[in-house]
Every structure is written in C-alpha cells, then in structure tokens.
C-alpha cells in the first residue's frame, strides 16, 4: 500500500519542485525514477511493482517451478506445501496449501509479491490484497503458447527477461523436435492415461481441454479420453475394453499404482496393453503443472508412445 503511494508522491514532489522560482532559473538535474512494472493479471487486476520483485511467495507448485526455471529462485521467500520441485524449494518456509492458506505466515514473510495461480481462489487474492500485499494471479494456460507467455510475464515481474527468453527459445526448439518426428506419422497408438482408478470400474482420465490430452496427442498418441467430456473425464471399464488401448500410462503411480496392481483388477487383464506389458508408470506432475516441465512431459510421453523414434 505504501509502495503504491511512492510514485505519485514523488511525481507530486517533482511538480512542486519544478514550479518553485529557483527551478525556473537554474536547470535542476532530473532524478532517475525506479522503473515501475505495471501488468494486468488473470483476474483483470492492474498490478504495479516499483521494481523487480525481491521477496516472492508462491502459492502454487507451478509458480514455484516457473520461478526457479527462469532463474528467480533466489528471490523466493515462501512457498505452498505442495511445491516440491525443484528440490531446493524444500528449504523454503511453507504458508499453507491443502486446506487453505495462513495469511499470518504470508504477512510475516514481508513479501513484495505474492504469485497466485489458477488453483488459488479469488477470495484468497482479495484477502491478501486487503492486507496490503501485492498479488499477481497467473491464470491457467490452455496451450503451450500461453504457457510461454506466462513465463515471460513472471520474468517481467522478477527482472529475468533474458533468461526467460532463452528458456522459451529452448522449449520451443524441443517441442519442434518432437513435432518433427510425430507429425509425419500415419498411425497413432491408442493410449489410456490413468489419473485415478480408486473404483476400477469407473476410472478417471484426461479429457478434452486438459493439458494431458493436448500433450498426449502432441506426443503422437490417440487419447482414449479425447471423446469424453470435461477435463477430468470419468469413463467406464466397458468403454475402456471397447477402446482397447495399446498403451496404458499410469499417472497415478505417484500414489502407488503399479503395472502389477493394475493386472490384478478384474476385467483389466484382457486389455491388449496389459497382455503385451505396455503399462508404464508416469509422473503426473509433468502434465498437470502448467509450467516449463510440460515440455519435459511431452518428451517423456513421446518416448513412451514411440520408443523407436526417440532413443
């Protein structure tokens, strides 16, 4: 709050100084102003910083990954509980996450920027705003291009424009490399990506609109979930049997699901993927966190789906 007054007060002081009689006769050296940063965030709020953020609290794991990736890791002073990548993040103090955020803890860290993401609620943003903190809400990207824009936005906020540009460049190159091998393909294997199968007769998979679906297709697969509705689509075992995927990717291996446990499910043993041992574990964070690791996810998926093309 105080920071927002600095600029206008300074400007006012300048004007007053400029109008004084002594200023008219002798040239007064114009003091250099801090380069302010003004951007509009995902909630249509205008956010102004007096300079690159030096004490950042990240409220989402995707934000944490982005900050480290563009070289702003040293400016982080706090994170949410679920931010586990990169491993350096573990040393940062936490401010909440699973069941709400602790505003006291955030305030006590004296941040000059709080970076929120689509996973955070507007109420939280409002609450922090009311406490006088500067909050920037990074909305969820729906395409890789939007993700690149988010990287550039965060770079502007933190003063790492060059690193971000280089990162975006290298990401684009890596994606192009995958595209080059995938696009000419005539056939794409049917793939089933499992998000959750607590009820093995009604598993959840990525549907249209999700990054998982986007990346599966980009990596040269035909996603069983593409024809369903909703980003997190529930399907029945019957549908899965009919689709008969050639490859099964276990996005829930972080929660303990293995190829062996899947084989034991009634009715699943008849699937081609199971019979041919094409069931693979996968780190879901690579396709669910809207940050630069989405490209890692793309490459990993491409390798699983077309091992012959990506050695």
């Amino acid at each position: 709050m105080f920071r927002k007054l600095v600029f206008p007060l300074f400007a006012l002081a300048l004007i007053v100084a400029g109008c004084s009689p002594s200023a008219i006769s002798t040239p007064t050296p114009v003091p250099t102003l801090n380069p302010t940063i003004t951007l509009t965030d995902g909630l249509n709020r205008t956010v102004t910083l007096s300079g690159p953020a030096k004490r950042i609290v990240s409220l989402a794991p995707s934000n944490t990954e982005i900050l480290y990736a563009i070289g702003a890791g040293a400016q982080l002073v706090g994170r949410d509980e679920t931010s586990d990548y990169p491993t350096q993040a573990a040393s940062l103090p936490t401010v909440g996450g699973y069941s709400g955020f602790n505003t006291e803890a955030i305030v006590a860290l004296h941040p000059d920027l709080v970076l929120a993401a689509g996973i955070n609620t507007p109420e939280l943003v409002a609450a922090l705003e009311k406490l006088g903190l500067t909050v920037f809400y990074l909305s969820n990207p729906t395409t890789l291009e939007e993700m690149y824009t988010n990287l550039e936005t965060v770079a502007k906020l933190t003063g790492h424009a060059t690193e971000a540009a280089a990162l975006v460049d290298s990401l684009k190159k890596r994606v192009a490399a995958v595209d080059a091998r995938i696009l000419p393909l005539n056939s794409r294997p049917m793939v089933y990506y499992e998000i959750d199968a607590t009820d093995p007769t009604k598993p959840y998979t990525y549907g249209p609109g999700s990054f998982g679906d986007l990346l599966l297709q980009r990596a040269g697969g035909a996603n069983v979930g593409s024809s369903l509705s909703g980003q997190f689509a529930q399907m029945s075992l019957e549908q899965l049997v009919v689709a008969n995927p050639a490859i099964i990717i276990l996005g829930d291996s972080n929660y303990g699901t293995t190829a062996d446990s899947l084989k034991k499910r009634t009715g699943w043993e008849e699937l081609d993927a199971v019979k041919n041992s094409q069931v693979f574990p996968f780190d879901d964070n690579l396709v669910s966190r809207p940050g630069p690791r989405l490209v890692d996810g793309l490459e990993a998926l491409a390798k699983l789906l077309h091992p012959d093309l990506f050695k």
Binding site: L43, N44, R45, E81, T94, V95, G96, G97, Y98, S99, G100, N102, T103, E104, A105, V107, A108, H110, T121, P122, E123, L124, V125, A126, A127, L128, K130, L131, G132, G230, Q231, F232
Partner: protein
C-alpha cells in the same frame, strides 16, 4: 442473587479467556512481552519498532477481525441451537434441523460453479448465495410443513429432513461434476473462517444481532413450549406466531453465520446441552448462556484449528466434531442430575 449471576460470570470469564487466546496465538509466534507492549502501546499512541509493527499489524488486521467473526459465528450457532432444541423439544435438534445447512451449501456450490468477475459483488457471490439459499430453504420447508393454519412440529422436521437430503444430493452431484471447484467446495462445506478483514464481520453483524436479540427475548416463550403446543396455547401463548418468529430469528442468525464460515457442526448441538446440564433448563438463562459459551467454544476450536498443524489450518467443522464429541461425552458422564431434560 449470586446463584443467579454465577453462571454468567463463569461463561463471560471463559469467553474473555478465549478472546485473549485467539489474539495471542497464531502461526506467527508473538512473545507475550511484545504482545503486552503492543496492547499498551496502542493506547499511548507511540510508534512501534520493527518487528513489533508487523506483530501489531497481524493482530489488528488478521487476528482481531477473525476473532470477532468466529465469536459472532459461535454465538449465532449456539443461540440458535438452544432455540431449536426448545422449539422442537428434541435433544437432537441443532440449527441445521430444518435445512439451513443444506440450503446454504447448495447456494454456495451453485455460486462456485460460476466464474464471477473479480469485484466487490463478485467476491460476495458465494456468501450471498449461501445466505439466500439458507433462508429460501427455511421458507420452503415451512410452507411445505403447513397444514391449514398450523405448522406441526413433526411436519417441520420431516420436511426439513426431506429437503436436506434433496439439497444435499444436488450439492454432491454438482460437486462431482465440477472437479475444478471440488476442493474449494469441500473446504467451504467443512467450515472455516477464510475471508480476511472486517468485511465479513460488518456484513453478518446486523443479522446476527437482530436474530440473537429476538432469541434472547424469547426465553419465556421457549419455557412455555416445553409443555407442548396444546398446553402452551391454553396458557395463552399464540403458538404458531411465536414459533414462526423464533424460527425466523434463529434461521437469520444461522444463515448469516454460515455464509462466511461454512457449515460448522456440533457447536449448535453441544453447547446448549452442556449449559443445560450445568445451569438448568430455564430458557431465559439457557439462551444467553449458550450464546456466550458458544462464542468462547468456537474461538477455542478455532485456535486449535490454527495452531495444531501450523501453518496448515484444519477446517473448523472437523475440529468442532473431533474435540466436541469427546468433551460432551465427558460432561455427560459427570452430570449429576439425570433429569436434565
């Protein structure tokens, strides 16, 4: 005379202690010496050095409004709980008996499924929808239960149960459909003081004050209702009218409390029972004592919710159930008089 004022002294003392705890405890540790300096300093108006300035800010901008919000919520839920128990002559009655909770939950989840613009009204959408949902439910249930001119108690309870099931099923269905908002909805339903600042307090204050004010004046009416509708009416009470008034007041206070704090259970059920066990069944005392003790009890629960797994916060509804149930069982075992109903 002191036998009559003693319960008030005890409960007010409890509330005062709870308020102090709520201000003194949080995820940021403020040493008692600093706390004292801040409190005395705020009266003398002297400027505080860092880090005391941050501590003072945390106390005035975060802990104090939250304390008052939780206090009002606990008061509203317990006062309404006592009124509902008296109104329905039912030991299982709580403020959510005729559907306030399910209506509020449905309203909130409906509002959460829409992307509101980030503005004052956009942020008020969820609390407003839950408030309206709560009151609409009470009106609907009341209308459904009506038989001619009278509204029999049993009908009210049955209609409330039926509507709660219906609304609850709708809410669950909506929650399953919108997986993106699922965690937010669950979080809200489990209860907790999520919003910051004085906004929520000022918003719910008039409704809580009006609702509880009416309930405080309704002690004699509630006493009479303990003899059954027939006898109460034969003693001169216009039963249907008074019941409608008390229901409306209790629902108003509960709906306001629930709109910002979510569904917090147990407080409205347990606190009146404990007050009844310790201080008797006269509703002229039971209602005010429940209000005071309920405010204190919820504050204690909130302190526990904030500090046990700090900086993580346990949803308030979970704490009230986890802590409230064993406490109540303990009180029950030690109760001397058995005929407390």
């Amino acid at each position: 005379m002191s036998r009559r004022t003693l319960p008030y002294l005890w409960t007010l003392l409890f509330l005062a202690l709870a308020v102090i705890l709520s201000i003194a405890i949080g995820s940021v540790f403020i040493p008692p010496a600093d706390l004292w300096r801040i409190l005395t300093g705020s009266f003398s108006g002297a400027a505080l050095p860092e880090p005391l300035k941050t501590f003072a800010f945390i106390i005035t901008s975060i802990r104090l409004p939250r304390t008052v919000l939780v206090l009002l919520t606990g008061a509203a839920l317990s006062g309404s709980g006592a009124a509902y128990q008296g109104l329905f002559r039912n030991p299982l009655a709580d403020p959510y008996l005729i559907g306030v909770a399910s209506g509020a939950g449905l309203g909130a989840v409906l509002a959460m499924s829409i992307q509101w613009p980030y503005s004052f009204w956009g942020l008020m959408a969820v609390p407003l929808a839950s408030f309206v949902g709560a009151l609409l439910t009470v009106f609907l249930v009341y209308a459904l239960a009506r038989v001619g001119k009278a509204v029999p108690k049993t009908n009210l309870i049955l209609a409330g149960v039926a509507f709660s099931s219906f609304a609850g099923a709708l809410t669950s269905f909506l929650m399953l459909r919108s997986t993106g908002e699922l965690r937010r909805a669950i979080s809200w339903l489990l209860g907790g003081a999520s919003q910051a600042g004085w906004g929520p307090v000022l918003t719910i204050l008039p409704y809580v004050v009006i609702g509880l004010g009416i309930l405080l004046l309704s002690g004699h009416t509630l006493n009479l209702l303990q003899f059954g509708d027939d006898q109460a009416q034969q003693l001169g009470l216009p039963v249907s009218r008074r019941r409608a008034l008390i229901l409306m007041a209790a629902s108003l206070a509960t709906a306001a409390a629930v709109s910002f704090s979510g569904i917090i259970g147990f407080v409205g059920l347990i606190v009146p029972h404990v007050m009844r066990l310790w201080f008797g069944a006269d509703y002229r005392r039971l209602v005010p004592l429940s209000i005071i003790a309920g405010a204190g009890a919820l504050l204690v629960a909130d302190v526990i919710a904030r500090s046990v797994l700090s900086p993580q916060e346990i949803p308030l509804g979970i704490v009230t159930a986890l802590v409230g149930a064993p406490f109540f069982l303990w009180v029950l075992r030690r109760a001397k008089n058995q005929g407390f109903w």
